[in-house]
Amino acid sequence: MIAEIGQFTLILALVLAVVQATLPLWGAARGDTALMALAGRTAIGQAAALLIAFAALTHGFVTSDFSLAVVFQNSHSLKPMLYKVSGVWGNHEGSMLLWVLVLAMFSAAVALFGRNLPPSLKARVLAVQAMIGIGFLAFVIFTSNPFARLSPAPLDGTGLNPLLQDPGLAFHPPLLYLGYVGFSMAFSFAVAALIEGKVDAAWARWVRPWTLAAWTFLTAGIALGSWWAYYELGWGGWWFWDPVENASFIPWLFGTALLHSAIVVEKRDALKSWTILLAIVTFSMSLLGTFLVRSGVLTSVHAFATDPERGVFILAILVLTIGSALTLFAIRAPGMKGGGLFSPVSREGALVANNMLLAVAAGTVLLGTLYPLILEALSGGSAKVSVGPPFFNATFGPIMVPLVIMMAAGPMMAWKRGNLRIAAPKLIPAAIATVLAIVATFVLVPDGPGLAPFAMGLAAWLAAGTLAEWAGRIKLFTIPVAESWRRLRGQPRAASGMTLAHLGLAIMIVGITGSSAWRTELITTLVPGESAEGAGYTVTLTEVTRGSGPNYNYERGLLKISDEGRTVTTLTTERRFFPIASQTTTEAGIYTTILADLYGVIGEPGRTPETANAWTVRFFVNPLVPWIWLGAMVMVFGGSLSLTDRRHRVGVPRRGRVAKAARPQPAAAE
């Protein structure tokens, strides 16, 4: 019964989406306020309907209603409650339902908080949003119905993919979707602006918070996924340039570019058509990611539900959405007038360079991801290649170097016309920090790869440059500390957010460098009680015990790690066998210090009777890995802080200012 309510509200949402996509658009063209106002109400109705549908599906999972096909295929009565809930989106049908729910929630947020938007723009944005919704709701209802019943109902389910039964992964998909789908707002705003034929500073100010929110969620989602891969897959790495990882990283890179180019539109009324194009491309890449994962065009560990038929449907949605947006762009963009001029050496110039580098980096990752497909299609299926980390390391890294160098200098430049002679002295502290970091790294780790000290220098350059710019803003040490404190409190949160996000990247570079340059490992077989030396430590397999968890059996190995006779820690690592799915997963034992992770996993025991008690043991010392997650957290915090900036705070009733903001303001005050 409850499932049928879900089915009904799901269809209701589609009907509402059809209304929302058509009538308000017509109303906006005719200037009919009543029709335009319909958009907000249908958007809220659609979100409410989908919320009920999602709750109904969750109910099915929580109560283990195996008469629902998705519950039967992805759940099991013995599964812990957390995974019954996360099982809702741990499968194709449920995750697509989550996708449309998130889309509708963003529309509803515009309807509720976008009171200061001009009615025609608001109606058009919501109509575009609903068009995307129609495509995906039809996809869910006609090809991936989550409420399909089984008769007779099976007694128990087949269980969720054991790899997905993990707290880190329980929240990875929702965050990722909030990011992916969040970029739909920028897309809808861009298309609405193309329809209106008007892009101005006010438009950029409305787009930015949505982009920023999506970016923050996506950053958190990617970091969480990477952290999961690190401790769950047991390979000791945290990023594999897997096609599905790339599918989330490409929108992130374009989204980052969009975030920065929107600033130029907002402050200087320039780069308009480029920003519109970026908004379209960023969301297109999110759609492409969905398509690649869901269609089976790319096979990967992540593609847990692939089906060519569904692929054709998503491709059709892609063609309609992206194709029409880009065509509209081709028609309207030439008519858009460029705004303020600026010299190459200026804040705008730096942001343009940032955009170019980010776009090239994203293009490179896209090429590397799609190249095997392109080659396969062009050769008629005979040429199968895979593009792996060597390609990405050789191409992506070098593009990042100038970007990071620019990142420290950009915020110090003046708008419109910068002066190198004024900016250069501000970079002296950064230059000193860079030299110190390079020398210190050489001295501390003399036998590592030759590039590593320079990578550390790059991180120091970015961190010191960012801090110097921040210190300059609050005039630290040039005026009394109390006065600096007052200036700090008066800083716009967006500026502090920028400082934090840039610092976060510097921290992350330290982690990336450390883990890729100085990682050491020991792979050996040990009988319980035996020890081995390697990676600077003595590793002892103290014991292996067998037992069972709620829905799995485990072999638990205890690894005592000691350094010159002193016990550092004991790592607990498990190999879990899930009989229902007939699958094995690894739980790595990790001991974290701020400087390094000690990471141990046990593999299989030997296969002959004599070696049946000898276990494969892998032990890694991953220097500075925690800095990667720390950096990501700082970036997410920076994004969130910037979102709370007064200028972005949407829906705050301040009539006077709202009225002013509704009019285009070419020269917005700083």
Binding site: S273, F291, I322, F329, A330
Partner: protein
């Protein structure tokens, strides 16, 4: 010039779509995705010697038993729901006179015996593979999986997942005929 530049994104996208369509409509490729290519196809069946589950189930068999006649090796378990779904088709194959060997994957002897008693035992012999060592040698990625072995003991075909009527008609039976003809 500006006109051309703004058309560029649409043009690139159109090219990409063409490639995607070509890949999606390539039915052979889509088959490949579900039928993971096995490096074992064309190689002799891996060496093993499996014990019987217990006295009540005929069985225990070794690699040498697979030679002399085209045979089928089916990996199954009593806890595996899809195995039950394909069970009638396995029974049908056995009724046609093809020797079907069963590898009982990670199972309890009692559960397996009960399962075979309840649903019928089409297998000429069942080997117990409680610790999945043999399955590993066979490159088994999940249960059920089915292999066709020719008279020389060489693996000629591998089917991943439950056998459906469609797969039986279009894949299994033609492959069997091919193995017999050689």
């Amino acid at each position: 010039m500006r006109r051309l530049i703004v058309i560029l994104p649409v043009a690139i996208f159109a090219g990409l779509v063409g490639i995607m369509i070509a890949l999606l409509t390539d039915s052979e490729r889509n088959d490949d995705l579900t039928r993971l290519p096995s490096p074992l196809v064309g190689k002799p069946a891996p060496t093993m010697n499996l014990p019987a589950i217990n006295d009540t189930v005929p069985g225990g068999f070794a690699t040498s038993d697979l030679k002399g006649k085209v045979s089928i090796v089916n990996v199954f378990a009593s806890w595996c729901v899809p195995c039950l779904a394909e069970h009638p088709l396995i029974t049908e194959l056995a009724a046609q006179g093809i020797p079907v060997f069963g590898i009982n994957h990670r199972d309890q002897p009692e559960a397996a015996t009960n399962w075979l008693r309840r649903h019928g035992n089409p297998y000429i012999a069942v080997g117990a593979d409680a610790d999945a060592r043999a399955s590993l040698d066979w490159g088994v990625t999940g249960v059920p999986e089915t292999f066709i072995i020719d008279a020389n003991g060489v693996i000629t075909y591998k089917h991943v997942g439950p056998i459906t009527q469609d797969a039986l008609d279009k894949k299994i039976l033609p492959s069997l005929r091919k193995a017999e003809g050689r």
